[in-house]
Every structure is written in structure tokens, then in C-alpha cells.
């Protein structure tokens, strides 16, 4: 049974090669890894000037939301095990909970804010982990098609919603807004903005104050660009290595390119996906915590 499932997973992961093999038949089409990150409108929805169309990233986000909710219910809500035994599912659920509590929330959030902001931080971690992970599973969510045994099938492609900056910027904006709302709510407007200014001589104020204000906005940029660029670069590395076969046009290069791409794939899946989810949640906790309890 275990061998069978391993074989099934292997075949599933090997399937995109069919799609790549079929596109190589028309040589006019130039290989360009950036092409995979373009977002075409699938279902156009326009409300006045606002563009609410459903595109690839939105589809992945919806799927990611469903998967996150399902994961939470599957691991933490259902009645698990018999009597007092701890089942394997519960063990995994408790492990995730413990990471969210000890490693993420308690690093930054003060005790009095834990009840209100622990759910946000933990949900952020699980959600980003899920959409990052979905980005490395080949899914038939693509407008391109390929033909196999006379049947038109959508291409299996790897694409992460987090490799679009709009998604990560929206997530970072939530943290940014919550940080300042909570800072003002706990400390009052005057005390909160005063806490931004470090202890320096008054003569330094014209230099320090603009820098501190800029620093607050730099947090927003660094938080969003870190996640976005990590996922984009990871996907591009894998695609570029596979694409080398078509750029050079020699199948022998596959001996080097495919293992290299597989190695980067493993590195991304094992390390980068979890680290980025952890880091986003941990930094959100630290920012919110430091706004609620300023050091000076």
C-alpha cells in the first residue's frame, strides 16, 4: 500500500514532463520562465475602476483558503483517537500548535495581548505555509493545454500565489494596520508616537524622526518583498533548470538539469516554505508586540 502510494506520487510529480515535452514540438515558441508568472483574467469582474477579476493567483488563494480550513478541522477539530490515546493526527496538530505558540507568538506578543492576537498569528502561519506548499504541487490550474492520447488536458504547472506581490503586500498591510491600531489602542496616540523616537539629544531630532517614520514603512516593504521574492526566485530557479534543456536544445543536458532542478525543489519544499511561513508570522508577532508594549 505504501509503495503503491509512493509510485502514485512519483507519477503525479513526473506528469509535468509530458507537458514540457509537448510544448517543445513547436520551436517558434521561445522559452521564457517569466511567462508562467503572468496573470491572465479568467472570469472578468470589473466594478467601475476596480478590477476584481478571477485570475490564477485568486484561484490558488481560494484553493489555499479551503485547504487551510480543511487542515485545521482535520488536525485539530475532529474527535481523534479512542479514549485517552493520542493519535498520530492529534500529535501533528499539537506539534503545529506548539510551534505557533512557543516559537512564534511568545517570541513577540506580550502576555496581555496573547488571547487576542495568537489566533491571528497562528492562522497567518498556517495559511502562508499552505499556499506556499500548494505552489510546489503540480496542479491543472492553467489556461495552456496539451494533448495526450487525443484528449485535451490543462497543463500541470507549479505556481504559488505568494509569488505575486499583490498577495504578500495585502498580507503585510494587514499586519501594518493592526500594529498601529493596537499601538494606539493600548498606549494612546501621543504616547505611542512618542515611543517611536529613541533616546537621543534634542538636536538629533530632525535627523532621527524622518528615519524612524521611513523605518515603519520599510517594515511593510521588507515583510512583503521577502516572501514574494523568495517564492518567485525558487520557482524561477526550478523552471530555468528544466528550461535549459529547451534553450540548449539537447536532451543530454537533462542528465544535469533534472537532478539540479529536483535538488532545488527539495530545498524549497523542505526548508524555504516552512521558514518563510514561520518568519512572516514571527515578525508579525514581534511588530504587534512591540507596538503594544514599547520599550521606552
Amino acid at each position: 500500500m505504501r509503495r503503491l502510494s509512493a509510485l502514485a506520487i512519483f507519477l503525479w510529480l513526473a506528469l509535468p514532463s509530458l507537458a514540457l515535452a509537448s510544448t517543445s514540438e513547436n520551436p517558434e515558441e521561445e522559452f521564457n520562465p517569466e511567462h508562467d508568472f503572468e496573470l491572465g483574467e479568467w472570469i472578468p469582474i470589473h466594478l467601475g475602476p476596480i478590477d476584481l477579476s478571477i485570475n490564477k493567483a485568486v484561484a490558488y488563494l481560494i484553493l489555499g483558503t479551503i485547504c487551510t480550513i480543511a487542515l485545521g478541522i482535520f488536525l485539530m477539530r475532529a474527535r481523534i483517537g479512542t479514549k485517552n490515546e493520542v493519535g498520530r493526527r492529534q500529535a501533528v496538530g499539537e506539534m503545529i500548535y506548539e510551534i505557533a505558540q512557543v516559537q512564534v507568538a511568545e517570541q513577540g506578543l506580550p502576555h496581555k495581548a496573547m488571547g487576542l492576537w495568537f489566533p491571528y498569528v497562528a492562522a497567518l502561519m498556517l495559511f502562508i505555509w499552505t499556499i506556499n506548499m500548494l505552489g510546489f504541487i503540480p496542479l491543472p490550474l492553467s489556461t495552456e493545454t496539451f494533448e495526450i492520447f487525443g484528449v485535451e488536458l490543462p497543463t500541470l504547472a507549479v505556481y504559488a500565489a505568494t509569488s505575486s506581490i499583490s498577495v504578500t503586500l495585502a498580507l503585510a498591510l494587514m499586519t501594518f494596520v493592526f500594529t498601529h491600531v493596537e499601538g494606539i489602542r493600548y498606549n494612546g496616540v501621543r504616547k505611542y508616537f512618542k515611543s517611536w523616537i529613541p533616546d537621543v539629544p534634542k538636536a538629533m531630532y530632525p535627523l532621527i524622526i524622518p528615519l524612524e517614520i521611513l523605518g515603519q514603512f520599510m517594515r511593510l516593504i521588507s515583510l512583503s518583498v521577502r516572501l514574494y521574492a523568495n517564492m518567485l526566485a525558487g520557482h524561477m530557479l526550478i523552471l530555468t533548470f528544466i528550461g535549459l534543456i529547451f534553450v540548449i536544445g539537447n536532451l543530454a543536458i537533462a542528465v544535469v538539469a533534472v537532478p539540479a532542478a529536483a535538488a532545488f525543489y527539495m530545498f524549497e519544499v523542505v526548508i524555504v516554505v516552512s521558514i518563510q511561513a514561520f518568519i512572516f508570522a514571527a515578525l508579525s508577532a514581534i511588530y504587534i508586540g512591540s507596538a503594544i508594549e514599547p520599550e521606552h
Binding site: V225, R226, A229, N230, A233, I279, A282, L283
Partner: protein, 86 residues
């Protein structure tokens, strides 16, 4: 004649862009490489001295790793922006 000059200028611009992108990523990864080496080196020293602190240090280590590693990607994004906008 003018056509040739225009072509050469265009190819020079492309070459400049390629060099800028490569320099951005290369110098970025140089810095990040040193930084990440420092973090893991210090982690090994710290755990070798006080193995009982390993659990607490791991979280801080990964935080530092991700913060440092992001520097490469600022270089990458800057380079890509130069490629697209200029």
C-alpha cells in the same frame, strides 16, 4: 549606417542591463553568504558551549537566517526592476 549605430546602442543597453542584474545578485549573495555563514557558525559555537540552550536558540537562528537571506532577493528585485523599467 544610422540603423547599425542604433542596433549597436540597443545591444549595448541590453549588455549593460545584464551586467547590472548580475552585479546586483552577485554582490547581494556575497553579503548574504558571509552573513549566513556567521549565523550558523555562531550557532554551532553557542550549542557546543551550552547544548541545553539549543531549543531556544533554534528559533532565533532561523529568524536571523531568513532576515539575512532576504538581502539577496532585494538585489534580485532591484536588478529585475532595472531590467524592466530602464
Amino acid at each position: 549606417m544610422f540603423n547599425l549605430i542604433a542596433q549597436e546602442a540597443a545591444s549595448n543597453v541590453d549588455a549593460g542591463k545584464a551586467i547590472a542584474l548580475a552585479l546586483g545578485i552577485g554582490l547581494g549573495s556575497l553579503g548574504a553568504g558571509i552573513g549566513i555563514g556567521n549565523i550558523f557558525g555562531s550557532m554551532i559555537q553557542a550549542v557546543a558551549r551550552q547544548p541545553e540552550l539549543k531549543g531556544e536558540l533554534t528559533g532565533i537562528q532561523w529568524l536571523g537566517f531568513a532576515l539575512t537571506e532576504a538581502v539577496v532577493f532585494y538585489g534580485l528585485i532591484g536588478g529585475l526592476l532595472a531590467f524592466v523599467l530602464v
